[in-house]
Amino acid sequence: MEALVIGSGIAGMACALRLAKQGIHVVLASPYPSERSQSVMAAGGINAMVSGNEEGDSVESHIQDTLKGGSGLGGEEAVRGMCEHGGEIIRYLESIGTVFSVDGANKPVRRAFGGQSHKRTYYCGSATGKQIVSALAMECRRFEAFGMITRRLRCSFHSALIRDGAAYGALLYDEASARLEACYADFLVMATGGQNALFGKTTGSSLCDGYAAGRLFMQGAVLKNLEFIQYHPTTLETAQKKMLISEAVRGEGGRLFYVENGERVYFMEEKYGKRGNLMTRDVISREIYATGKDVYLDISFLDGQTIDERLPEVRDICIKYRGIDIKKEPIPVSPSVHFFMGGLAVHLNHETSLRNLFAVGECASIYHGANRLGGNSLLSAIYSGFVAADEIAGRAPARKYPDFTAFMEDERRLLKKSSASKSTFPVFYIRDMLSMTMAEHLGIVRDEKGLEEGLTDIGYYLSIAEKIRYDRSVPAYSNFSLKPILCIAGATLASARERRESRGAHFRSDYPETLERYGYATLVSYQDGKFQIRPDQEHAYES
């Protein structure tokens, strides 16, 4: 049996390992090694209820916190499964050598994270994602050594091989040979991460561009809840990106304020009391936005040694990129796009609307509903990888692969045509216009008029995208990815327009209330160039 896993971040590796352990050969394909994936940037930690957590904590309370954070749109059964497996996942990560922060007795320690009733976020200094990636990558190597996992580097997903509603592998674009090649598989698993790059400057990686989900959408896969985009309230602006200032700073007691008449106003504490700085990310982002002022995060009152021990990466980022010494001065912060609750719609077993096509990690939408709790996405990345792998292991392989020669020839021809161009027009002019559209109309606060304008923009970009010839001296991927990226952006705007209420991370100034009749996930599919939106009233997908 063969599985093709696209994307080698935490979700892709977790899935590949679980498949390989069950005797299934995996091709693990990504343009770069796992060390370059966005997963290495995860800072704060991973949530889990493990026996020995603080008194009163329970799996049930983790479930309730997650569902509450998701404002009624998280898949309840899926969330239950994830939370019940939290302890097992922490133990697994320990067993493959993840270097968790520990106490004197060598036991992993926890910190508090926003929106949680108990301290249940396990962490590795402020480099949790990096430490987990290092451990998973080493474990993958073991399976690579005896041939159960085959890594394909320098290759990108181009399109899925789909026939009669089922997937049989994918076309991969191989950078070295500059060719498309068919990679047949009984099961195709997408682990391609979020769609940060739609927005230009964010906290995430430029490799997370939404192309793969966009292309699958155009090939018939259903997308879900795209309008729910988490803004992280505290990021530090630099010339090229918005750097995350981990929630751990607030977990350690950091206080948000602005200055008025020479006085500090601790606006979160004033409005929400002592735990105000630990409110959920959407609430804080909106409150920061509402101040209309420059906002700062102060941790300088903590003693230097604690800062060195618990927040060394935050300390380093501030000094290196902005010359700010967090032991002495507050950090100027502003909200930025950070996490995508929406993505490929999946069932409880992580299969998408197409048979034998699975999605795991941030590119799938199931656990986080209208908003995600910090620390839950690393947990869901691993858990979802395991669920998909276990499902696949219980299935029969495809009896025969259909013939995709004609499809491949067509796609090759298209690619060749575009590379015959003599133009020097760079595709990123359009990508830049797209990120301006997204930032302007899909910000923290949205309204009908803005969303309409955004859709008009996308319509225009799509109408010119195929007419213009692009610079062929850049990797072909940047050119062929444009249209699906524009499509997923359009589907996101359309989903946000149809949700005429406010819920979780989606806030409409023209519809500020949460309305019961909108208590369903938004599904969007692509038909004849149009975005078809429908609420999932039949609960076709877990939510």
Binding site: E35, S37, V99, A127, R141, A239
Partner: protein, 225 residues
């Protein structure tokens, strides 16, 4: 500012220098400078001739993924962490890492780092940490980016066939510190592919962007029996 870039379009082509004029912000990093130069309809070199965009690799833009390693004014560095204001003089030269095969312009193939680890089975297998672990060093070693900056400045690393350099020693350390039962096997591999040839000049440690103390790894591995 004049920017000299060592270019080549394909692995087979002979490398050549091409210069560009940079009139962007001083606050930029080298990564920002490359984006700035590439951000034009027509890319012009310093003679006003049309040329192609400069290829380079990036992902995180904050020094934690290792993608953008290159040689900046003869010093191996991460482009997203190399600030123009720290650069002396009016010119800046950018070259690809020289110890790895060049793919295009500033992009190199670092898969050799992974091959050496995979071929020698440098992985934990079972979790059996010794009781006298060094948590701080474990954490530091696991932060290795596999960026290859250390290999670039290593006097002993040539083609990566026998001597594998600091990332290899680093992961050997991690295995020994996570599974004491594998100490003996790891020690043998470490001796053959690292210790026997290492010059102990510590150039690797001085350049490492993660500040990994390779000396601590060596000390631990040398104490194994």
């Amino acid at each position: 500012m004049k920017v000299n870039v060592l270019r080549r379009m394909t692995p087979e082509q002979e490398p050549y220098w091409e210069s560009f004029l940079y009139d962007g912000s001083e606050d930029n990093t080298v990564a920002g400078l490359l984006d700035y130069i590439n951000y034009n309809d027509d890319i012009l070199n310093d003679k006003g001739e049309k040329t192609t965009r400069i290829s380079w690799e990036c992902s995180c833009i904050q020094g934690i993924c290792g993608a953008c390693a290159m040689i900046v004014n003869d010093v191996p560095a991460l482009a997203c962490e190399a600030f123009l204001k720290d650069i002396q003089g009016e010119e800046i030269s950018l070259r690809p890492l020289s110890k790895f095969p060049v793919i295009r312009d500033l992009v190199v193939d670092r898969s050799g780092i992974y091959d050496s680890l995979r071929h020698n089975n440098v992985c934990i297998e079972t979790y059996k940490p010794p009781s006298d672990g060094d948590h701080e060093q474990d954490y530091a070693s696991a932060k290795c980016l596999k960026c290859g900056l250390c290999i670039e400045c290593c006097p002993k690393y040539t083609d990566g066939r026998t001597f594998y350099g600091a990332p290899f020693a680093n992961d050997c350390y991690l295995v020994a510190s996570r599974n004491q039962e594998k100490s003996h096997e790891i020690l043998e591999i470490y001796q053959e592919h690292f210790k026997d040839s290492c010059a102990f000049d510590l150039a690797c440690m001085r350049i490492c962007p993660m500040g990994i103390k390779i000396t601590a790894c060596m000390k631990k591995l040398n104490s194994l029996k």
